[in-house]
Symmetry: D2
Subunit: 291 residues, 4 copies
């Protein structure tokens, strides 16, 4: 039986410098329905992957764009956790969301537009959960590390940095994925640095090559947007992989990782549900309705 | 006697497109002491200027840098309002600060790093006070206008846009002040657009020429950092004007404005202190101590 | 009668730091026909302006775009010089063009894409004519000054620097006109620095406000694209002023210049045609045919 | 015996889209001495690599910096070609250099600052030699492809595109290596696209990881700065690999290439020396076979 109540040993190795496992986080931009997220979780389980991402409250430039399912998404994840093992990664955009998100979120994601939101960072610094700190698309590496310093100063050293593309003059890609900046962040800190080639390129055709590039460069993991039907996604479909593309990516990725004696992490955080007895789950029983 | 309890008529003209008055906001980056802010306010009064800026909670990239006086600055401003007339402009960095800042702040400033903080914008959209919305240094004009749209959607149309420099490859200035971007924002919206040449250039020697440039271009106002002794300022001294420089700027500015039949706005907001009887004030009596 | 054979005294004051005259260069992007350039020259004469620009060999990103009239344009200018007084400013893109352009060009323009073409700069450094050195849209101010240094090292100190917008992430304007960068170039060198708001913004509606801004900032001149019928121009029509707009600009410009006791330069270079007797000209006699 | 007088078949496969060989070009930034370039060539021979780079005329921002050995370097390479087989890649900065460089240069490199030098491109378009066209550090991918179009229009389709980093706001690296831009260039054209991680990052510690990244992304080759003693290099030493580092890179590179069934190209161009009888050479009996 698994270690409950504290972060398990393997996961905590994420935050140690030597022989770091490779972190693969995948999932849709937004949680859109029970079915959608169930299908994604099934794929992760099949592939022995342990980090699911999914947006609850979306940050959208345009206030008229889809803003996420909110409360409803929280219930969907709560139910899904009864039947499936996964570490749930989701964005937080306001200190006042901590209370409602804490029961289901295992890793708080700070999005690119909130990297400079120091009040939010100070609050997350007081939490016991890891924080995935995306680089602002306008941030120099030193500013990104300073944002991490806000978390550390407030007491939280469980930080995963995530490069997701910077804003440049080039317009043929949504952003310019700055792998060398990510390497500098690794050189200058002791933190794991992962890469998001989905936002980093904004083009599904570039996700796989740039994911492999990040891996060959020695970075610590990937955040990949996947969707059962990208062409029908409510946000970011143009940069999401479908399941077939994702499985092909995994195959190539494992080849490169094997060649440098590295593996994808497959452990779980359990401190959120210390009383949960995972042996009682019955995955067959999950009810799926459109919502 | 002045109109109390509601915004006076002249000020509301800020938000009308034709024959807009010119908005001149000046003050130190951070409120550092009673004396400092008193001296600044005296200069504004002398020059018949009605907008004082001053930082209470500072956004600093480095968590170890001076973060502002906080509570103490609030008391300083509260006392100063008993003896002086001014509209107080100050930055808000967290929705939870609205309650404590509301009694003294007449215009909420949203800083460059919070332009994408949509949760903050939604809360400010519910307030009755004008919002000075700085452009993120990484924001396209369309994103800046979208951020304004978050305020408007939540009910607040009293918005002053403020261009403060964008991040480019050029390193000889702190930022690149984008006057043509500011003009586009004016073209595409009905909002007043002012310019902050202090942050926009990061060099006191460039503040006056760029302030005059913005004025000649037909923009609607300026935000200028001034300090009694810039070389001793706790933040941003290198881009602040001293009082002599500021008075020289005003002289040149008034010449350009006169040539296009425009004037600096000198009215006040009063809805914050509906019961205050300004006739009772005794400016002579103010006690100044180091704090 | 005018000073022949050497640069006249007033013009040489362009290259002295104190009390510099204001340089106004205007003309079409490309010379398209005898009529077009004749009409432009007439306007300049009417307004007592002495610098005409016009492209002979155009630098075009797309090799299939209009590349300029070449030889034919040279003849047009040669003829026009018989009847009109003007200093002709035109772009040179290859050291091998010096011989053919020298008889008609009074100021060699080095375009934004050639600022780094050091072989070209070394050759121009050996010429006796002033060089208008545009900043590369990607150049830091220090690199721009280094390019000027290539000219100076080769013997030519008659340099006019020209800011014409830098490439940034902002896409609502063609470039971001960097007035503060231009001011830094002025601070760091003893060279005159002028501004091209036509390329700098890429939008005719922004040309006038940004031209006034540059003037109010204390810069040394302007390069303005004008065209008898911008909507029919073979290149850059969208950023060219028509004659009515140009005259309005001049009116506002002169007001700002007067307020700082400055004037538009109206002198001529004559070293190109030492034998020419300008008294013999008969402007009435010019024959205009389409060509 | 080898095919003389025309490009051999294997090399021409560089310019075919399917099953392209991987191009590895290595050498010092500048040719500094006979010994230096001899040592480098020996390493290439040992590793069965066929492309040597070396600067003859250097483009330097500062006119007072080392500008290359010029004539002397030409003699060095001429002599070296008598004893060694290699394709020599060197930068050309002026159309007037074609004549003197043609006898020794097998691939003309157009540097980042000359990508917009269309007069140079038109001349190179008339040559029979391949052109390595570096992306301007300020060029959008579409502009880079347009520059290639200038070559193609003039008759030369033997083009190798080379991504070498773009200029962004990030200052912790010399440039931002834009691998996704390179992939877009590959998608949109039928040309091979290689990557220069030396200039792309400006830091020797980043050269190997970014070289592996480019390879894993599926790009077509690398341009690597190597030097016998980088710390003593007259230019760019801080971004050059020493021989030990280079050999380690090759080892890792071959592993990744093998995993995708790709090989480093080891053939030679011979059209430059149609009369040379390579059978007469005696440099330790080197055996050259197609592989």
């Amino acid at each position: 039986m698994k270690n409950k109540g504290t972060m398990n040993t393997r996961i905590s190795s994420l935050f140690q410098k030597s022989k770091r496992p490779f972190i693969l986080i995948a999932g849709p931009c937004s949680i859109e329905s029970k079915e959608q997220i169930y299908q994604v979780t099934e794929i992760l389980t099949e592939e022995n992957l342990s980090f699911l991402r999914g947006g609850i409250h979306k940050m959208r430039t345009n206030p008229h764009s889809f803003q996420g399912l909110g409360e409803q998404a929280i219930d969907i994840i709560k139910n899904l956790k009864d039947s499936h093992d996964f570490n749930f990664v989701s964005e937080i955009t306001d200190p006042r969301q901590i209370e409602v998100l804490s029961p289901i979120v295992d890793i708080f994601q700070v999005g690119t537009r909130n990297m400079y939101n120091y009040e939010l960072l100070k609050e997350l610094g007081k939490q016991q959960k890891p924080v995935l700190l995306k680089r602002a698309f306008s941030a120099k590496v030193t500013e990104w590390l300073m944002a991490a310093e806000y978390l550390i100063q407030s007491g939280n050293e469980q930080i995963i940095l995530c490069e997701r593309g910077i804003r440049t003059f080039e317009t043929s890609t949504r952003n310019t994925l700055d792998l060398s900046g990510a390497l500098i962040a690794k050189e200058k800190s002791s933190l794991p640095v992962i890469v998001d080639p989905s936002h980093g390129t904004g083009k599904s055709s570039l996700v796989t090559p740039m994911a492999l590039a990040a891996t060959a460069a020695g970075l610590d993991g990937l955040l990949i947007e996947i969707h059962p039907e990208p062409e029908k996604a409510m946000s970011d479909g143009y940069q999401s992989l479908n399941f077939i593309q994702f499985k092909q990516l995994l195959k190539q990725l494992r080849k490169i990782l094997a060649s440098v004696d590295r593996k994808i992490e497959s452990g779980f955080f359990y401190e959120n549900f210390p009383d949960r007895d995972t042996s009682e789950r019955n995955k067959e029983n999950i009810q799926l309705h459109s919502s």
